[in-house]
Symmetry: C2
Subunit: 334 residues, 2 copies
C-alpha cells in the first residue's frame, strides 16, 4: 500500500545530511568516512529501503556482481543446466540473471552475440552461454560456453563426452541385434551433434555394419523439426528397426510419429535418445537414453566462470562422462 517513488542515493544523502559521495562510500564500504557517519547513513538506508540502481551502478563502475546465463529458450535441456548453475551460485557472492532470447521459433542466429553485447559491460560481469553459435569475446569480459558450436574456438567450455555417449547408444542397439539403425542427427552447427553422429558412425564401422545414408537425417534437436525427418525415415519401404535420436526431444518426437503411423514402440521400433532430460522418464514408454549430467554441467560452468573472473589459474575445458540409462523403449530385434 505504500505508494512511493524510487528512493535514490540523493534522497539518502539529504535525509542523512551528507553528500551523495559519502553515501556511495558507505554503500561500497570504502575507506575514509567517520564511524559515526557510517552508522547514521546505514540507518537511513535501512529506513528508506534504499537499493542501488543496477543500471546506473554498472554504467559507471562496470561491475555489478551479477552473472548472466544466456539461453535460447527454456526447453528441458537448458532448464536443467540453469538449475545446476543456480545452485552453484549461492554463496559465491554473485547473483544470477537468466536471459532468454525469446526468439522461440525463428531463433535468429547470433542471438547470443546480440544479447551479450547488450548486457556485457553494462549489466553483468560475466556469462555462461548455452549452445552458442557465435563466439566473440570482448576483453575484460568473461564467458564460458556450454555445448558450443562447431569450429575452432578457445572459449572456456563445459560439455560431456558426446562421442563416447553415441558409441554407447549405438553399441546398445547393435547388442540387441539391430543392424538397420537410423540416426536423426541434431543441429548441424553444434559440436555435440557432430560428435554424436561421428560416434554413431564409428561404432557402426567398428561392428562392421554399413551405414545406409538414407537413414541418417538432420532433425534439429527439437520436437517440431524432428517430426519431418522421423516421418520420412519410418515411411521408407525398408524402414529401420531402431533409431538413435540425436537428443531426447527428437526421440520423443520420433515415438509420437511412430504411434501416428500405427507402429508400436518398442515392438516395431526401438528408440534411444540422448540427454536424459526429466521428460524422458515420463513419456510412454519410458525412454532409454544416454545421460549427461546436466545439472552438474551447469554447476561446473558457473564455477569456472567465477574462477575466471577471479583470475584463478585452472583448466578451462571440462568434459563430463556420459552413461547408458536403460528404460523401455528398446527391444531385441526379432
Amino acid at each position: 500500500m505504500v505508494f512511493q517513488q524510487r528512493v535514490k542515493m540523493s534522497d539518502v544523502a539529504r535525509t542523512a545530511g551528507v553528500s551523495v559521495a559519502t553515501v556511495s562510500k558507505v554503500v561500497n564500504g570504502r575507506y575514509g568516512v567517520a564511524r559515526a557517519t557510517v552508522e547514521r547513513v546505514q540507518q537511513v538506508i535501512h529506513d528508506l529501503g534504499y537499493e542501488a540502481s543496477l543500471g546506473a551502478q554498472s554504467l559507471r563502475s562496470h561491475r555489478t556482481n551479477v552473472l548472466g546465463i544466456l539461453l535460447a529458450e527454456f526447453e528441458p535441456f537448458s532448464t536443467e543446466l540453469l538449475k545446476g548453475a543456480s545452485q552453484e551460485v549461492a554463496g559465491s557472492g554473485y547473483q544470477l540473471l537468466a536471459y532468454s532470447s525469446g526468439d522461440g521459433e525463428g531463433a535468429a542466429v547470433g542471438w547470443e552475440r546480440r544479447s551479450l553485447a547488450r548486457l556485457s559491460g553494462t549489466l553483468i560481469d560475466g556469462a555462461v552461454i548455452v549452445t552458442p553459435t557465435v563466439v566473440e569475446t570482448e576483453n575484460n569480459f568473461h564467458v564460458v560456453a556450454v555445448d558450443p558450436h562447431t569450429g575452432p574456438s578457445h572459449l572456456p567450455t563445459v560439455d560431456s563426452d558426446n562421442f563416447a555417449g553415441a558409441v554407447l547408444a549405438t553399441n546398445y542397439l547393435l547388442s540387441l541385434g539391430h543392424t538397420r539403425i537410423g540416426h536423426i542427427s541434431g543441429r548441424t552447427d553444434l559440436m555435440s551433434a557432430q560428435l554424436r553422429e561421428a560416434g554413431f558412425r564409428s561404432a557402426m564401422a567398428e561392428a562392421g555394419v554399413p551405414v545406409d545414408e538414407r537413414l541418417v537425417r538432420p532433425g534439429g534437436f527439437r520436437i517440431e523439426t524432428a517430426a519431418g525427418p522421423a516421418a520420412e525415415l519410418l515411411g521408407l519401404a525398408d524402414r529401420p528397426t531402431a533409431i538413435f535420436a540425436g537428443n531426447d526431444l527428437s526421440a520423443i518426437s520420433t515415438m509420437a510419429v511412430a504411434r501416428d503411423m500405427g507402429l508400436c514402440v518398442p515392438d516395431d521400433l526401438s528408440v534411444i535418445g540422448f540427454d536424459n532430460v526429466p521428460e524422458s522418464a515420463l513419456v510412454n514408454p519410458p525412454l532409454t537414453t544416454i545421460m549427461q549430467p546436466l545439472q552438474r554441467m551447469g554447476a561446473e560452468a558457473l564455477r569456472l566462470l567465477v574462477d575466471l573472473i577471479a583470475g584463478v589459474e585452472r583448466d578451462t575445458h571440462i568434459r563430463l562422462p556420459t552413461e547408458l540409462v536403460i528404460r523401455s523403449s528398446c527391444r531385441p530385434h526379432r
Copy 2:
C-alpha cells in the same frame, strides 16, 4: 577471435558521420531523419554490430522492453511457471529476464522488495513475482503476483483454486476409507498454504471427521523443512494412515522419511501431494496429487502484465481450476 571493445553509440556516429542524437533517432525509429541517413546509419550499426547498452538506455529513458520474473530459487514449481511465461513472451515485443534471489537456504524475507527496488525503474518495465511475501508497488511500475502472500493486497494476481483442490485431495483420502489423516501445511505466510489447510479442514468437517490437531504441522513447502514434521507425524504412537502434504515436495519428503522408517507407501501410508510438478511422476511410487496448471499460470501472469503496461482494462485477478491426478501413492484403508 575478434577482440574488440564494446562499440558505443558515439562510435557509430563517428563512422557514419553524424551526431549521436541522430543515431539515437534511427535506433528508436523516431521521426525527423532523412531516408538516406537512416539507411547509412543502419548499415554502420550492422557493420559494427552495435547494441544499445541496457543500463544506459534504461537509466535515461525508463523503458527497456524487458520484463522480469522474480523467483526465490529455481525449484520445480517456479521453473514450470517460468516455462509458461517464457512461451507467452515470444511475439509480445518484450524480452524476459529471470532473476533469482539466489538466497537458497536462508531466503531472507523481503528479497522480492529488494530485488524489485534494484531492478525497477532502471532495468525492467514490469515484473511477475512468484510467491512474494512483501508487496509494495512504486507508481508507474507494474507487477503481478503469482501465488501471493497472505493479507489484504490489491495487487493483480494469478493463482489456482487452492481451497477446492484441497477439498478434492481430502475427499479422495476420505473416499478411500481413511479417517486419521495428517496434514503437512506449507509456508504459513503464503495464501495458498492457508487455503489448502482451510480446504482440508472444511472437507473433514463436511464428512464429520474430527481433525486431530497433533496431525497438522507446518512443513515449509520444501524437502528439507518438511522432513522434520513428517518424521514427527510418523513417529506418533497412533500415527496417521494417510497424509495430505501441502505440496509435492513435502509429499516427496514424506515418502522418503516413511521409507527410512521402514514404512511402505502406499501399503502402510497413503500420501497425496499438491502442484503436480514433473518430479511427482518420477518418484517411486508415482505420486497422486492435485494438479494446478503451472505453465498456464505463468503464461496468464505474463499476459496480464503486458496488458497492464499497455493500459488495457481487464480483470486483474485470475484463478485457474485444479484437478485430481491419481497415480500410485494412495490405497484404500484396510
